[in-house]
């Protein structure tokens, strides 16, 4: 199947960006905003239409320039779109719109450059989601990185955005080179760049294609782990997300990090599942363990944070760990869970970022360390923040809960992975508890005065304008409300789980994908019908939420940490200090850890499979 719509999804935002940069809309801000919003909305609608088609008909394949494959050789570039990719593209579009609306009141003056960059970023996200070509994915990956550097450094009159952008740029550039090295290896072996064509060429290779294929997988995984901020590739993320303008954070935390894992999942299921499929039993525990370390590590770092944006940055790392666990289980049910979880978590987190933005808008001081009690009197924003915090906790009723229960079901049904739900719950208690604690500190004024907590932290969270205004503008509040409501909608709308499972089943159908791309035949998939969360699961979920609230409000907010006998206290204080020191913000350290991560991932794969 094909559809002409796919030829336009990139053209709309890119033309919008060129128009904005070229005419600088006659220096009229409203006009610039209107062009940007129209382009973003147009592209999102196109993605939505593509999504609807993909759900109905399976893979949609679009050959740019009309260069269809002959005898299985594809010299052109294709967009090969399945429901999961189209869904992620549409979701990226929605968050872009939210970011643009939010930016409207966030900056004093936006200029033409900001919306132009956001539109290019959107095009990069969409292209990455839809592309069926390995090198083309890399191009969009690089485009994403470059725009993100520029957006992070947008408020270059302050210090922290510069440091954030620098570390971001260095680490992600290196991640890109690792991916490119992996691509070169695959091209050297197969002479192809089309995902399906590479997959077919490697399928059935003796001894899973030898060390070359294993190393290529390791390098590509490492490169994508940088973008996904998997521990220990994550050091750049907190610096960048803390200092980027808050509207941009919506996009960064909501979809950009997720793109790293999406890319890995796409490449795994189209290229590597053939040659390495027989070794899934070896790859699975590696991915799940790395995911668990990231989830728990991100959670612990959350507990140690004082600033709301930096907290949300580490919460993103924790979530990425949870998603990696889901992907790492390498089956349709868990992947469906990840898909739902990503969307719900992205919406809720974006809502929380907007709440922080409102705080910055209303209270000039939000950039400083004294966040305690800052939100007193902002009743609606506080309420919204609290609801969002519950969403981060995967409370039943939210899409995050549905996603988690799908992943956990998949894990429990696989022998040897019964421990996974405990790890996931533990990470969620840490993350959710920290967010709830932040809510209590900001909006209720709980906890000790922040003044005596400066140890180990010297960040100014400053990006934003310094006006204190009397009312929360609707363009800030309404998006926040809709984002958080969206997080609930993904959990309660009927059919979300079923849709996700059938999309995931199509996504992991390696042969079906190759057939659709190279042969033009869309295969039928017969996904299992997922059972909705049982009463028992819901009760456990509620119990976990209670536990999270207890932990967040009882332990984290009043700073009762560390607790226990003196020896334990000294020890955990020492650990906390070491963790703070480890996140030095030094590009050399970040890169050293990145290389270590790559060496561990590739080395372990080669030892186990090579």
């Amino acid at each position: 199947m094909t559809t002409p719509l796919l030829g336009l999804v990139l053209a709309v935002p890119m033309l919008g960006a060129a128009l904005l940069a070229g005419t600088q809309p006659l220096r009229r801000r409203l006009l610039a905003e209107a062009i940007a919003l129209a382009a973003a909305a147009g592209a999102t609608v196109l993605c939505g239409l593509v999504l609807r088609l993909a759900i109905r008909r399976g893979e949609l394949v679009y050959w740019f320039g009309g260069w269809r494959p002959h005898h299985g050789v594809a010299v052109g570039i294709a967009f090969a779109v399945d429901p999961l990719g189209a869904g992620l593209a549409t979701f990226s579009g929605l968050l872009t719109i939210a970011a643009l609306v939010f930016a409207w009141r966030h900056f004093d003056s936006v200029g033409h450059a900001f919306p132009a960059l956001v539109l290019v970023f959107m095009a990069a996200l969409i292209g990455f989601c839809l592309s069926g070509d390995l090198f083309d994915m890399f191009v969009f990956f690089e485009l994403m990185t470059v725009v993100a550097i520029a957006l992070t450094a947008y408020r270059s009159d302050q210090r922290s955005p510069l440091q954030g952008a620098l570390n971001f740029g260095i680490c992600n550039a290196i991640g890109g080179f690792l991916v490119l090295f992996g691509i070169a290896l695959l091209y050297g072996r197969t002479g192809a760049l089309n995902l399906a064509q590479i997959g077919v060429a490697l399928r059935g290779a003796p001894h899973h294609g030898g060390a070359l294929v294993v190393v290529a997988f390791g390098l590509i995984a490492s490169g994508f782990f940088v973008k996904a901020a998997i521990i220990p590739f994550h050091f750049w993320l907190a610096d960048a997300y803390t200092s980027a303008p808050t509207p941009v954070c919506i996009l960064f935390a909501g979809v950009m990090s997720e793109m790293g894992l999406y890319g890995l999942a796409r490449v795994y299921w189209t290229v590597f599942a053939g040659p390495l499929g027989a070794d899934a039993g070896t790859i699975r525990p590696m991915l799940v363990v790395i995911g668990s370390v990231t989830a728990l590590g991100g959670g612990v770092m959350c507990v140690l944070q004082h600033l709301p944006k930096r907290l949300l940055a580490f919460a993103t790392i924790g979530s990425m760990g949870l998603f990696l666990i889901g992907f790492g289980l390498l089956d349709a049910g868990a992947l469906a869970g990840v898909a739902v979880y990503v969307v719900a978590d992205g919406l809720v987190k974006a809502g929380l970022f907007v709440c922080v933005g409102i705080l910055q808008h209303r209270r000039a001081d939000a950039g400083s360390l004294r966040v305690r009690g800052l939100g007193r009197g902002l009743r609606f924003t506080g309420l919204l923040f609290a609801v969002g915090a519950l969403g981060m906790t995967a409370t039943p009723g939210f899409g995050t809960f549905l996603g988690r229960s799908l992943i956990e079901t998949a894990a429990s049904s696989r022998p040897g992975y019964g421990w996974v739900p405990y790890v996931m719950s533990g990470a969620e208690v840490l993350i959710g508890g920290s967010v709830l604690a932040a809510w209590a500190r900001i909006f209720l004024g709980w906890g000790p005065d922040d003044g005596d907590e400066r140890a180990g932290e010297s960040a100014e969270e400053g990006d934003e304008l310094e006006v204190t205004s009397e009312r929360t503008p609707a363009v800030l509040f309404v998006p926040a409300l809709m984002l958080v409501a969206g997080g609930i909608a993904t959990g309660v709308l009927p059919g979300v789980g079923r849709l996700a499972v059938s999309a995931a089943a199509r996504f992991i159908d390696t042969a079906g994908y190759a057939g659709a791309v190279l042969g033009g035949h869309v295969a039928a998939v017969h996904p299992p019908r997922p059972a909705g969360p049982s009463i028992e699961e819901i009760l456990v979920g509620l119990g976990l939420t209670g536990l999270t609230a207890l932990f967040g409000l009882g332990v984290v907010a009043p700073r009762r940490l560390p607790f226990g006998p003196p020896a334990v206290r000294t020890f955990s204080r020492g650990v906390a200090r070491r963790l703070h020191e480890l996140h030095s913000g030094h590009p050399g350290d970040d890169v050293a850890w990145l290389v270590t991560g790559a060496a561990v991932v590739c080395g372990a794969l080669v030892l186990a499979l090579g």
């Binding site: 620098l166 290196i174 030094h586």
Partner: protein, 114 residues
């Protein structure tokens, strides 16, 4: 001997990373990133090379003459130009860092921590 091009590519990757990790000057660091970048060009072109192959430009030679792989060259060509502008972006950030921090030594740039 025929492994030499690939070995040089791997060497440039690692020595460039070494430069990045140990750098004491942001401009130096950015130029080291360029070395890492160059390693990927070298790898791609080395992979696509064919003994006694001509450049894939069919002026004065007939189609069917053995030629080296054109795809890797196309991939590399655009990347060369594009990555220079990315380096420029990083250089601009380095200039701004110098303005706000008064230094371009990564050891002295400590704003975000913990």
């Amino acid at each position: 001997m025929s492994f030499l091009p690939f070995a040089v590519a791997a060497w440039l990757l690692l020595v460039g990373l070494y430069g990045v990790v140990t750098s004491r000057h942001l401009v130096h660091l950015i130029l080291c990133l360029g070395i890492v970048q160059a390693s990927t060009y070298l790898l791609l072109l080395a992979i696509g090379y064919l003994h006694a192959g001509r450049a894939p430009i069919f002026v004065g030679i007939t189609v069917g003459t053995p030629a080296v792989d054109p795809v890797v060259q196309a991939l590399t060509l655009t990347d060369v130009v594009v990555e220079a502008t990315v380096s420029a972006l990083l250089l601009a950030i380095a200039l701004q860092v110098d303005r706000r921090f008064g230094t371009v030594d990564p050891d002295a740039i400590r704003e975000l921590r913990g």
